[in-house]
Symmetry: C2
């Protein structure tokens, strides 16, 4: 079964997640802290409802597939096909009412990401990719649904690049030093966009995204979208990105090489 | 003529601005730098097209009214009624493809802000206020247009507050010290949201917004929205906010007093 065969099913997962989440967005909800005494990591009822809804659909439709979920852990992780789910990537944006969080749905085949989607239910836009081609669907200028191919842009000169990261506060000291080496050379650096940063890279509006300490579910669903749009995504040392860790994505290879080199220096 | 009488006209201005801007959003456009050698301040064709369209409508409909615009300057500034226009607040978000910029439209009467709107054309949501009442309209859960009243939330304890600012990089050293005194005590601090920060405060999702060095057009249109939702907005020293400068807005008076006190200390 190819990635394309899963596309319609992923749309259904996205519909289920959107329905589960939207009633909770921009309402007053208590957020409980998963890391007692640790950093602020809100989990909302929406998070749980959406992952439950998606897991239910997967169990019904593909009972032999594995699932790795942000909220409810892993099952059958060594199955041929494993789904990777992050119901709300960008929970801090979510609780602040900002519509720049996303639902991430990824599919691994023998451990490799072969299909991925990022959905923003409130805006109703979806970014999908299979590693070969990536697509956007969402609101068109005329209020009707629109769609188009996604393509990264070339930006071989770091001095003209737009860089995104979720927050420099998430870096430890050596990683911050490495990040600042890149940041000090770009045209514009933006914070706080979580999965949207990678989506905007795939869409050709952003040239580089650097993150530290990502989980598999933060990045695996985005890998086929980035690659299908022509982008490059690796760890900071050039390794495969799907298990998470320190991740960098670029719109073109020339920029990626420069950024990896700067991240490596001194370190 | 009361503020309510202007409401329908402001919707028309918003329509005109949205139509002018949307064709340029998420397209590849060169951005020119207004401050040669200064900080990065992109102006897009969209910015110019939207302000031109709004000014044309105002000149046709209210030829005696004044206009203060971000792009094309001021005219008849001492008229009884003066329109304050910022076609794209959040240009850095705009050029990065992030849908968290807004078009700001404000109306002053004898220098006081009496009506304001923040529009996000891509998401199709609008925040309006007349100082007495504030409203939201936008996409509902069922895909149909929805609307509701806006109301700030009470958060008398800074330790549980969500704080927003556009960027700490915009503060000079003493202001940064003052800002950090507040930031170090809140539950969550978020960057990079421009006018959306104030809109989310009015909607009750954010408790405090602190900014430095705002222009009149960055804040005057937002004042009636914040106040109509029950919020407080002043300068850092408690003065009237409509001319810009260092601005703080809070969802309730108890929090506002604490924040003003912290901003004042030492600095």
């Amino acid at each position: 079964m190819s990635a394309v065969d899963f596309a319609a099913f992923v749309e259904k997962l996205a519909d289920a997640a959107s329905e589960a989440i939207l009633p909770f967005f921009r309402t007053s909800l208590g957020a409980i802290d998963k890391n007692i005494g640790g950093s602020f990591d809100p989990v909302t009822e929406a998070d749980h409802a959406a992952e439950s809804a998606m897991r239910r659909l997967i169990e019904l439709t593909f009972p032999l597939h594995g699932i790795i979920g942000e909220e409810f852990g892993s099952i059958r992780e060594d199955a041929d096909y494993v789904w990777v789910l992050d119901p709300i990537d960008g929970t801090k944006s979510f609780i602040a009412g900002m519509p720049i969080w996303g639902t991430l749905i990824g599919l691994l085949h023998h451990g490799r990401p072969i299909y991925g989607m990022m959905v923003q239910p409130f805006i109703r836009e979806r970014f999908t990719g299979d590693g070969e081609q990536s697509n956007w669907s969402g609101p068109g200028i005329d209020l009707k649904p629109a769609q188009r191919l996604l393509s990264t842009r070339d930006c071989p000169d770091l001095a003209t690049a737009i860089l995104m990261t979720t927050s420099p506060l998430l870096y430890d000291a050596p990683r911050l030093t490495a990040f600042r080496r890149v940041e000090s050379r770009v045209r514009l650096s933006r914070y706080g966009c979580d999965c949207y940063a990678f989506a905007m890279l795939a869409a050709g509006h952003v040239d580089c995204v650097i993150e530290a300490g990502l989980k598999a579910y933060d990045i695996a669903p985005l890998v086929p979208i980035i690659r299908g749009a022509g982008g490059i995504v690796t760890t900071w040392t050039g390794g495969e990105p799907e298990e998470g860790g320190d991740i960098v994505a670029s719109g073109c290879a020339a920029l990626h090489d420069q950024v990896l080199e700067l991240l490596r220096q001194g370190g």
